[in-house]
Amino acid sequence: MKKKPICDAAHSKQSQDHVLGLLCTGISAQEYYLLDNPDSIVSSVIQELDEYFNGLVSQNYLGSYLYKDWGQHIFTQGTWTSDFEKSSTKKLNDSLDDKVYFARETYNIHGIAPFHEFYIIRGSIQSVVLMGYDVVGQILD
C-alpha cells in the first residue's frame, strides 16, 4: 500500500457521523479510474485502508459513500492547475481581440510571489477571485 495523508473529514464539524474523505488527483486518480466504476474504487480504497488499520475499515464501513468525479464532470473536467509557473500564463491570458477574456485560477499572473500579504498560487480559490478582479480591471481600463 502506498502511504497517503489521511484526515477525519468530520473533524470539528459538530457531526455525529464518522467520515473519511479521499481527495485523489493525478496518477493515483488515473490508477483508480482503471477500475471503471465508483463501487470498485470504493472496494479498492477500503482494501488499501484495511492494510493500514488492520481490518477495522471494512468492519466499520456502513456501505455508504459519496463520490464526486471532478475529472469527468461536465463543468470541471479536472481538478486544478498543478503547474505553479507563472511563465506559462503569459500567452494563455491574452484576450481574443479584446472581446473574450479568460479568468480562473489557471490564469494567475502573480505566480508564487507574495501578493500584498498573501501567496496566491495557481490552483487556489484565492487565485480564482484575484484573476476575476484582474480581468474586470483590464476591461474597465
Binding site: K2, K3, K4, P5, I6, C7, D8, H18, V19, L20, G21, L22, L23, C24, T25, G26, I27, S28, A29, Q30, Y32, P38, I41, V45, I46, L56, V57, N60, L62, Y65, L66, D69, W70, G71, I74, F75, Q77, G78, T79, W80, T81, S82, D83, S88, K91, L92, D94, L96, K99, V100, Y101, F102, A103, R104, T106, V128, G132, V135, V136, I139
Partner: protein, 77 residues
Amino acid sequence: MTENGTEYQADKVIKIVSIGVLRSNAITFNPPLPEKKITDIKDVEFLPGFLLFLKFSDNFYPDAISSEISCEEKTYL
C-alpha cells in the same frame, strides 16, 4: 449561444470555465481559437481527480496522519 438555442449578445465576455472544459471542446468558438491559444491550453498541467467520502459506524482512526508523496501523485485521504 447556449445548448438550447438561447442567444446572448455582449461586447465583452469573460470565460471562467476551467482549462479542462476548454480542452473538452464543449464550447464552440466562432471564429475558432488561435492555434497558439489551443497549444497553451493543452500545455497547462491540469490533473484529473475525484473526491470520495466513506461513512463508518465508529471513529477508529486518529484525526490525521500525514506522509510524503511525490508531486506527480497527489492523493489526500
